[in-house]
Symmetry: C2
Subunit: 422 residues, 2 copies
């Protein structure tokens, strides 16, 4: 749906309301915010019928528009999923509120006291695809960390999101916090999303969640600072010294355990000296799980029945049971390949050589660099952060799995007693 | 000078060389980097004659172009200033190298070990005005933190910067580090600056240093993430309970001690109940130091001889001995004024009321919020960081005075023993 006649007055009024509400949210106590989250969970359950009815409209429209099965599945909410959403909200209550944490502090030689404390970012803009659970998920994380949030979900989920936004706003209102801390620009379509991305006066950070295409579009169009999340062309390198049992299980787990997520394996590189020893068992185990292998010529010399790999494959996040496999002459070649194709998400080496392990850890430039571990571990829950805002693949502000502290900034509190600078 | 016929092949080759060099710099030991800094300081002194000769050409061109006196002064290098530059380089040797610092770490329940360690950002793009000392300053800070740097200084300093870039590159080369870790795009003029700002494939962060106009231009044009530094419309609020002696000295120090910098005071707000008690002494002391007061009607009722303040004054960073002064009816009004005009750099309250002090610290949204202290304390050296990269006025990544750690990112090192995700 295109909304070309964008009324910037209306949209700016909403953004300004979010900004205004953010001042109150920033001062809210942890207890106040937790009560709001409880109320959100309650209302989700109470209005489950409304939510599912609205979702049915989105699903019908999606089917008519020919949305593919995977997207329809992500779009779908039923009683069980709404219940799971409410449980996820309650889990955020258990997380430590980062606001007010003293990050560092000292007394200066002249007696002035300085303390760096965590404060909310202010207004978080979330841009994502037609997954209604993200609406609740990102709003709740933003609220717990004292931020207002402006949501822009995929148009295919517009009806569902409208009901969910009402739930969020009504819950805030019911507990005495400003409903305006949750806003949506869904009803302004793409023009609204573009406006949100440019609204530096109102929005402090944009968090795009979704496909590589979505994230690239946001980075290209945004004037508001962006935290890039997501896309992972993830590599595993089997060093000459790799243990066979580990290689087999690590590759299999990284590729097969959940192929549709960003920390799943996309490319396997194997040292030529280990190829004959390792590849048969590694590929047998993969193929037994239905993995389609796309391999270079030297790997195909060992296993002629697999598909040839293309240049495009090396650069692609398949998010499916497809795996690109290549042979390298040296660790240098492996590092070079990774440097060229990595999206700097997660890279892993399987090795028993200490020097190679340390070199890999030092030289590979990615949010997570691993030795003898499945790439599937790059995850907020696995890292012990509780809920996860996303996995940052950029270098500024946050890198890797982001928890609540990554939705905060800091400020310096300076306390003197009439101190002047000499 | 306009360079409309931008050869992107040449400029991209330089950016690619910087990227390549950044891999080596990221692996350089602290000792290697410190030796390079020593060599830079030596070469600055050795080539002082060349530097000053080139500077003379820039100064002549600047005078012909009618550059104003302040700009010419900032552009000028003489023997003493080159000596001071060399000393400043040596001082960076004493700073702790942030690279490799473990920021956090733990063992996960399954035994996987995760450590978050500091790594260089990669390639830092610096965009600044015709102040040749910044060329050395920012390059040395980038190098010490393991980064390559691409420089774009003001065109008026082009000759001087060329010699300084040679010094930096030759010093790196002399100690076995890649000269390509220091690049300039000065010879491509504005088109080169624009290209640098868009070069996401090569440049990890842009740091603009200079006027509000320069910073705004970079934020508007950049695709590379920007750390905004600088502009400060800085307020001090005299609460009803403020001590007179502190009020007099704090306002004077904040305004007069160095008016041309971003943490200098621009606006004084005074509570109506304290105006008659405080303003005479405060304004006498300011005027004795040559400050021009621009005041609202209620302040002028107390002191009719001062200039009237304009709406534009409230929003202006004068960087001169001009001060806007206004009276407010309440702390709410003061907070509202600050919220409206603050650039979120530094804000200070003078008070003896504990509740008001805490409220000000909590509610004011700025990089540094102060009680009974001069705003001039917002400074890397004062905060104990040694050298300062700039003062960030944004909320992402870094806020307030930035030291070497703010020129780094982190990565997660994950060490397992064949661990797979269940």
């Amino acid at each position: 749906m295109e909304h070309s006649d964008l009324d910037t007055t209306v949209i700016d009024a909403r953004l300004a309301a979010a900004k205004q509400a953010s001042y109150r949210l920033a001062q809210a106590t942890t207890a106040e915010k937790d009560i709001a989250l409880e109320r959100i969970a309650d209302l989700l359950r109470e209005r489950s019928g409304d939510i599912i009815a609205a979702n049915r409209l989105d699903l019908e429209a999606g089917r008519e528009a020919g949305l593919e099965a995977g997207l329809l599945d992500r779009l779908t909410l039923d009683d069980r999923r709404v219940g799971a959403l409410a449980v996820a909200v309650l889990e955020v209550i258990a997380l430590t509120d980062p606001v007010g944490e003293t990050v560092s502090g000292r007394s200066l030689p002249n007696g002035v006291r300085i303390d760096q404390v965590r404060v909310p970012l202010g207004v978080v803009g979330a841009i994502y695809e037609a997954r209604p659970n993200v609406t609740v998920d990102i709003a709740v994380l933003a609220l717990k960390s004292g931020n207002a949030v402006v949501l822009r979900g995929g148009t295919a989920a517009e009806q569902t999101n409208r009901v969910l936004v009402d739930v969020l706003r009504d819950a805030l209102d019911a507990v005495g916090l400003p409903a305006d801390a949750v806003q949506t620009v869904d009803d302004f379509g793409r023009a609204g999303a573009r406006h949100l991305m440019q609204a530096r006066d109102y929005v402090d950070v944009l968090i795009p969640r979704g496909s590589a295409g979505l994230i690239r579009a946001v980075v290209d169009e945004a004037k508001v600072p962006v935290i890039e999340t997501g896309a992972g062309v993830v590599h595993m390198y089997l060093d000459a010294s790799a243990r066979e049992d580990w290689a087999v299980e690590l590759v299999h787990n990284a590729k097969v355990q959940r192929p549709s997520v960003c920390n799943a394996l996309e490319t396997l590189l194997v040292h030529r000296d280990a190829a004959e020893r390792l590849l048969p068992a590694v590929l047998d185990r993969l193929e037994a799980s239905g993995v389609t292998v796309h391999a270079d010529e030297r790997v195909r010399a060992l296993r002629p029945e697999v598909e040839p790999v293309t240049d495009e494959d090396w650069a692609t996040e398949h998010m499916s049971l497809d795996l690109s496999v290549g042979m390298v002459d040296s660790m240098d070649d492996a590092l070079e390949h990774i440097r060229r194709f990595s999206t700097k998400h997660t890279e892993s080496i399987v090795t028993n050589d200490l020097a190679n392990a340390e070199r890999f850890l030092n030289e590979v430039d990615a949010a997570a660099v691993m030795v003898n571990a499945s790439t599937r571990f790059t995850d907020g829950a696995e890292f012990g952060f509780g809920a996860e805002v996303g996995i940052s693949t950029q270098k500024l502000h946050a890198r890797g799995p982001m928890g609540l502290p990554e939705l905060t900034s800091t400020k310096w509190l300076v306390r003197g007693a009439g101190h002047v600078r000499a």
